[in-house]
């Protein structure tokens, strides 16, 4: 799950996908941009999304998102809230689990 704290611009779902792909292209080139990334959900209000990627491309995607600096000439930052191989695990915070 990723959250995008922004300066003021609000991208919609398609622009968000394009932002992710352009971040991959900037860092890892055409091979990175060709990585199949799916945006599973996207909330425009909180600017947060859930992305899915193949496990071999996970490091590339995460590093590309971390190093992204600009969106439409504005500073932006991706904040990765949670990562997990299972979708259900994103629903809760496993560190605060009480057994």
């Amino acid at each position: 799950r990723r959250e995008l704290p922004d300066g003021g611009a609000r991208p919609n779902a398609a622009q968000f996908k394009q932002l992710v792909v352009s971040a991959l292209r900037e860092l890892h080139g055409e091979v990175g941009a060709a990585l199949p990334v799916d945006v599973l959900t996207y909330e425009e209000k909180t600017l947060s999304a859930i992305l899915r990627v193949i496990s071999s491309g996970f490091v590339k995607l995460w590093s590309a998102l971390t190093l992204l600096g600009f969106y439409q000439n504005r500073r932006c930052a991706f904040r990765v809230l949670q990562t997990s191989p299972f979708l259900l695990a994103l629903a809760g915070n496993s560190r605060e689990l009480v057994l």
Binding site: T66, L67, R75, V80, R95
Partner: protein, 250 residues
């Protein structure tokens, strides 16, 4: 600089379960150490794990001349107030001096331009033995794509020589939006060529160890440098376990 502290607190409180609870405030001084007597009304903020964020002071010396190194010994009254001292060498000789004889905790590695010197193994190994950590900054990688290339190339060449030991990754962020969470930064370590455990250590345990190194340097500061240096080194080593015990108890 008060803005910086506010930025940091906003950023790291957003990352709920944070490995690196302490963070450092960087003050750039060139040949004029000003004592940070009252930097800011320190805001201890309770975090997600019910511990307070620690704010440490840190001094970075940009040395391009061997005479700058004398500042470390002469004006030790001011320097003692800083928790961590880092040096930023610009030439190979200074890098060698910093790794072998200078009394610092961190050696900054330039990431914004092509290194004018190559790393050599002897000074790097000596630095690792002395407990000095090499620091890489990642904020230029966010700002500019040419700096990104230099960051990665310099980091990779450092990795080849030091095999991933004693690396600390930190941000020289000037705004709140340039900060990244600790797991993101550990992932960047993977890009630089570290293994996964090393990358995570670069963000958490190595930083802690650098802090402790700074503390031992502070406590053993009363000794005269010129002749009694071997004894001072022994004193440092005996204070390290005490400090570590105090930290784990606190």
């Amino acid at each position: 600089q008060t803005i910086l502290v506010v930025c940091f607190s906003v950023g790291y409180s957003a990352v709920a379960l944070n490995h690196v609870i302490d963070f450092k405030e960087k003050k750039q001084e060139i040949s004029k150490p000003v004592s940070p007597s009252e930097l800011f009304p320190s805001l201890p903020i309770v975090q997600g794990t019910s511990k307070r964020i620690k704010v440490l002071t840190r001094l970075t010396l940009v040395v391009s001349d061997p005479s700058h190194c004398n500042l470390l010994r002469s004006t030790s009254a001011n320097i003692r107030l800083y928790d961590i001292i880092a040096v930023f060498p610009k030439t190979e000789k200074l890098f060698h001096i910093a790794c072998t004889t200078l009394d610092v905790d961190l050696v900054c590695i330039n990431v914004t331009e092509k290194l004018p010197f190559y790393f050599r193994r002897p000074p790097v190994n000596m630095a690792i033995d002395r407990g000095i950590y090499f620091e890489l900054l990642y904020t230029p990688a966010i700002k500019d794509s040419t700096m990104r290339r230099y960051t990665i190339s310099n980091a990779i060449s450092l990795m080849q020589i030091c095999k991933g030991k004693n690396i600390v990754i930190s941000s020289a962020a000037e705004r709140a939006l340039e900060l990244r969470g600790p797991y993101d930064v550990a992932n960047l370590g993977l890009l630089f060529g570290l293994s996964e455990s090393e990358a995570k250590a670069a963000v958490s345990t190595n930083c802690r160890a650098a802090m402790l190194h700074g503390e031992t340097r502070k406590t053993a500061c009363g000794v005269v440098y010129t002749v009694k240096k071997p004894r001072k080194v022994e004193e440092e080593e005996t204070t390290v376990p005490a400090c570590k015990k105090a930290k784990t108890q606190a």
